[in-house]
């Protein structure tokens, strides 16, 4: 026999109590994991953004556009490798519920600046050639079961009317962090219609996307761009793509903080539950610990018994929790895919799960251990019978 055997048998003594405690930990770890994944998903746009891309927008607000004539001027600024432009179109597919991020872009330069969106060569040319075409990310195509050649109709919101596109390609993300939920179509297609309907809105773009060679030069190039358009009708505000994405996230920073806080709260609550279980357990066994001490076992033997039992319970719960986290995250990813382009459990989350389980297991055992170790044998024996 090994002392481990005694620890296991002790853990199985009150099967219902142990099972319920394990269930509690499983749920806590699951909740913790999902909440952490949610926070990660929130920041995924930032993570995915490249440090070799700058975004230039109207300095007043994103709502205002920039003239297309800036393109050539930006291209001439030293350090700039390529320039593309995009408009946040915000068209609705069938119903408002089906949120798809969609943009009007200049296809050729756009795809050059976003090498993480992978598209077979022939599809790419087909997209660039066909003025009325669009490409969509893998996830969104799967979600609506779109195939290449399908006609997709968007209802305009910012730009009224009905807009028809032929799907010429489905792109894949080169990295896991790449957003596969978007739809892109030709800026030209939008512009031509605007020329006819509302000429004053034509020949404009929402943002410029600027490719640079050296990320270390981002600040200087941004400054150079903004200086070029200083005192013109539309001044620019240029920043790295990361900073640009971040400005969306910070709007909801408070919510993220609350979620993070709740995720740790869950751990603290489960710690109280496990501590209670261990306190009950140790109290019931005070007599047995006294007997073991009588036989010559030391305080640290008793400590191992209690700590070991506590850890077995928390680690078991943790393992179940981690196992359940993956399918749950996948489910969430599917149902909320359009809000969170990337919803996957990170390795760090798993590490945090394990660390939390150890932390809870150790801390919950501290007080009962201290009491059991401290008790006088004669007093402990007196409690039997």
């Amino acid at each position: 026999m090994h002392i481990l055997k005694l620890i296991f048998r002790n853990a199985l003594r009150h099967k219902l109590r142990t099972a319920l405690t394990i269930l509690g930990i499983t749920i806590a770890i699951l909740a913790f994991g999902i909440l952490r994944t949610l926070v990660n998903a929130w920041y995924s746009g930032v993570e995915a953004s490249s440090s070799t891309r700058l975004i230039s927008r109207n300095s007043i607000s994103l709502v205002f556009s920039l003239p297309l004539s800036y393109k050539e001027k930006i291209r001439q600024i030293p350090g700039v490798k390529g320039v593309s432009y995009a408009i946040w179109f915000n068209g609705t597919y069938i119903s408002e519920k089906n949120f798809i991020p969609n943009f009007a872009v200049e296809p050729k330069t756009f795809l050059e600046l976003y090498p993480e969106y992978l598209l077979p060569e022939d599809r790419k040319t087909a997209f660039i050639r066909d003025r009325k075409s669009a490409i969509a990310g893998r996830k969104v195509a799967e979600r609506f079961q779109w195939k290449v050649g399908d006609t997709i109709i968007l209802k305009g919101t910012i730009f009224p009317g009905t807009w028809e596109f032929v799907l010429r390609g489905i792109y894949y993300g080169a990295e896991r962090s790449a957003d596969e939920t978007q739809l892109f179509f030709h800026w030209n297609y939008l512009n031509e219609r605007l020329k006819k309907t509302t000429p004053r809105r034509a020949d404009q773009t929402g943002v410029y996307i600027i490719g640079i060679d050296d990320p270390d030069q981002a600040a200087e190039i941004s400054e150079a761009i903004d200086k070029t358009f200083k005192n013109s009708l539309a001044e620019t505000l240029t920043e790295t793509e990361k900073a640009f994405q971040m400005s969306f996230v910070t709007m909801t920073q408070a919510i993220v903080t609350v979620i993070q806080f709740v995720s740790f709260l869950v751990i603290i609550i489960i710690m109280a539950v496990v501590a209670n279980t261990m306190a009950m357990t140790a109290r019931e066994r005070i007599g047995e610990y006294a007997i073991m001490k009588t036989l010559g076992f030391g305080g640290w033997h008793i400590a191992i018994l209690i700590l070991g039992e506590s850890l077995i319970i928390t680690i078991t719960g943790c393992v179940f929790g981690i196992i359940l986290t993956f399918p749950t995250a996948e489910y969430f990813g599917k149902t909320m895919g359009s809000f969170f382009p990337v919803f996957s459990v990170s390795v760090i989350t798993i590490f945090l799960d394990i660390a939390a389980a150890f932390f809870v297991g150790l801390l919950a055992a501290v007080f009962p251990t201290w009491r059991a170790v401290r008790i006088q044998i004669a007093d402990g024996l007196r409690r039997i019978g």
């Binding site: 007599g287 007997i291 036989l295 076992f297 030391g298 044998i377 004669a378 024996l381 039997i384």
Partner: protein, 234 residues
């Protein structure tokens, strides 16, 4: 008893009191007491007279206020907690009124428990445990859990646990207090045998005059004072 004039336990000027709040309750007062090696001694006396307290002190699981207790030539009152634990593990076997087996361990595992503190190999441990269980006549019940054994059988497992480390001193606090007459008789016979054949020194606290008759000496404790006039059999 060849060594009977050489005491294994020597108690000098022992006092012990308990504190309950600010109240001090004297339990044992100026006890002077020798127990020769190989003795089978019964400690009797009314409830609350301090029998268990005295037994616990001799066995090294309680602390004296003043006085010394020498066991086997060692002053156990000057030992640290850790030293005492190690000393108990090899020198004292304990038998309690309520058997005090670990319920989640089988008879075999309960007896093996004290051996986990030794350097014996798995096989050596197995041999020792089997021998001890054989001695108490329970070799066929090794895989039973305490709840599957009668009171008398549980007490025999407890005795096997007490002797498995081959200690010189066995202490028993009302070992038959919870048993019917026949089971009690078996336990007493077993203890007498351990004393007779294996030379174990036994100190047994008991209320039962019938049980006390199995001992060689009966000492009476009255209000914390050891009665000088003890009956002696043999």
């Amino acid at each position: 008893m060849e060594n009977s004039n050489q005491p294994i336990v020597t108690i000098r000027n022992l006092t012990k009191s308990y504190r309950r709040g600010i109240q001090v309750i004297p339990v044992l007062e100026h006890i002077n007491f020798d127990i020769p090696e190989g003795e089978f001694l019964a400690l009797m006396g009314p409830s609350g007279s301090g029998k268990s307290t005295l037994l616990n002190l001799i066995a090294g699981i309680d602390k004296t206020d003043t006085g010394t207790i020498m066991v086997g030539g060692l002053d156990i009152t000057s030992m640290t907690e850790t030293e005492l634990a190690r000393w108990r593990a090899t020198n004292v076997g304990f038998i309690f009124q309520f058997y005090n087996l670990i319920p989640v361990l089988t008879a075999f595992e309960n007896v093996e428990l004290p051996l986990l503190l030794t350097w014996l190999s798995r096989k050596e441990r197995r041999d020792h445990v089997e021998m001890a269980l054989q001695m108490v006549g329970l070799a066929d019940r090794m895989d039973h859990y305490p709840s599957q054994l009668s009171g008398g059988q549980q007490q025999r497992v407890a005795i096997a646990r007490a002797i498995v480390t081959d200690p010189t001193l066995l202490v028993a606090d009302e070992p038959t207090g919870d048993l019917d007459r026949i089971s009690a008789e078996e336990i007493l016979e077993l203890m007498a045998r351990l004393n007779r054949e294996f030379g174990k020194t036994i100190i047994m606290v008991t209320h039962d005059p019938h049980a006390a008759e199995r001992a060689h000496i009966i000492r009476k404790l009255e209000k914390g004072i050891l009665n000088a006039h003890s009956q002696t059999h043999l």
